[in-house]
């Protein structure tokens, strides 16, 4: 192996290690407050339209953040905390709808619509191509000749 290749491999290894450490926060443990804020970002603020409970200053969002922090301090898992909030507000309190059940249609329908649109376009292009390569009939030629006379 040449020296150049070795240096490229070394650079790649450094990049992978740096990205891994960077994406895992260098193994620093998450504080309860940070964890509560991360979880709050998954929920809508109950009284606002487009803000998460982490972003909003509404009283209901503050209450939700405080309750999430309580649950974090009680040692509940992320899944248990999400379930606790959904058990009160329903699944539409989640900013990202679940990918199963009827709510899963939110994810499935755009994909289905895209597939149908691509298939429709393909079908239309095929029809246009076959139409453009169609050779004129004797009747067509006679009509053109008559028009040019």
């Amino acid at each position: 192996m040449t020296r150049l290749r070795l240096s490229w491999l070394g650079a790649l290894a450094v990049l992978v290690v740096a990205l891994t450490i960077g994406s895992h926060g260098a193994g620093k443990p998450e504080t309860p407050t940070r964890r509560a804020m991360r979880l709050a970002a998954d929920f809508r603020c109950p009284t606002c339209r487009d803000l998460s409970a982490a972003q909003s200053d509404a009283e209901t969002a503050k209450t939700m953040r405080a309750r999430i922090l309580d649950l974090v301090r009680q040692g509940r898992t992320d899944r248990a905390i999400r379930a606790e909030i959904v058990s009160r507000y329903g699944s539409d309190i989640l900013l990202k709808p679940p990918a199963s059940g009827v709510a899963g249609l939110v994810w499935a329908l755009p994909v289905a619509a895209f597939v149908v649109a691509v298939a429709g376009l393909g079908f239309a292009f095929r029809r246009w191509r076959s139409r453009s390569t169609r050779s004129p009939t004797d009747d067509d030629r006679r009509l053109v000749e008559a028009a040019l006379r």
Binding site: T60, T63, M64, R67, Y89, G90, I93, D140, L143
Partner: protein, 191 residues
């Protein structure tokens, strides 16, 4: 005059057009059917994960200083009404709540408990004395009762049956007659 090429294409185009029209008509008919079969806004009940489950604990201090615990009201239907004095629909529904409370005051089979939603206590005290509120009104300073009930904004009401389970959630203004219908339906189901 139609050219031979147009004449050849016409049946296919007509078929496609007919199919598109049929699909659009079907979607429109389905849409109208869905809208026509929905209950009117006044009687509409909201979805809630709490329906059919034991009502969250509601213990607090009323604006007159008395202690309120909804679990002590077992044996009667309880309408938990989240309201605020700044909420116009809450003011609009107030006469209906009064009618409902008065209708059931003698028989004692149903009662109302108000919960203050994000409001100042001075405004609520004035509201209670001005409007002649005849049911307990509980303060909820941290919004914890509203959180437990999954309330998004007033007015929201929850009908709790005699065993302490949530029967209905109503978003928006309530009507006394509609509440009585809900109670009759619940009684018919043995609740």
């Amino acid at each position: 005059m139609t050219s031979p090429i147009d004449a050849r294409d016409l049946p296919t185009r007509r078929r496609t057009g007919v199919w598109v029209a049929v699909v659009i008509a079907t979607v429109m008919v389905a849409f109208v059917a869905v809208l026509a079969t929905r209950p009117s806004a006044a009687d509409r009940q909201a979805e809630s994960p709490l329906l059919g489950r034991p009502a969250p604990a509601l213990i607090g201090t009323a604006v007159d200083g008395s202690k309120v615990d909804v679990s002590s009201l077992r044996g009667k239907f309880v309408l938990v009404n989240f309201f605020a004095t700044w909420c116009v629909p809450c003011l609009q529904e107030h006469p209906e709540l009064v009618r409902f409370a008065q209708r059931h005051q003698a028989s004692g089979d149903a009662t109302v408990v108000g919960v203050v939603f994000n409001d100042s206590m001075s405004s609520v005290r004035k509201y209670v004395s001005d409007k002649g509120v005849i049911w307990p009104v509980v303060s909820d300073p941290g919004g914890n009762i509203a959180f437990d009930y999954g309330v998004r904004g007033p007015p929201e009401s929850f009908l709790i049956d005699r065993a302490g389970n949530v029967v209905s959630k109503i978003i928006g203004t309530v009507r006394a007659d509609a509440l009585d219908r809900l109670i009759s339906q619940a009684k018919a189901r043995g609740l």
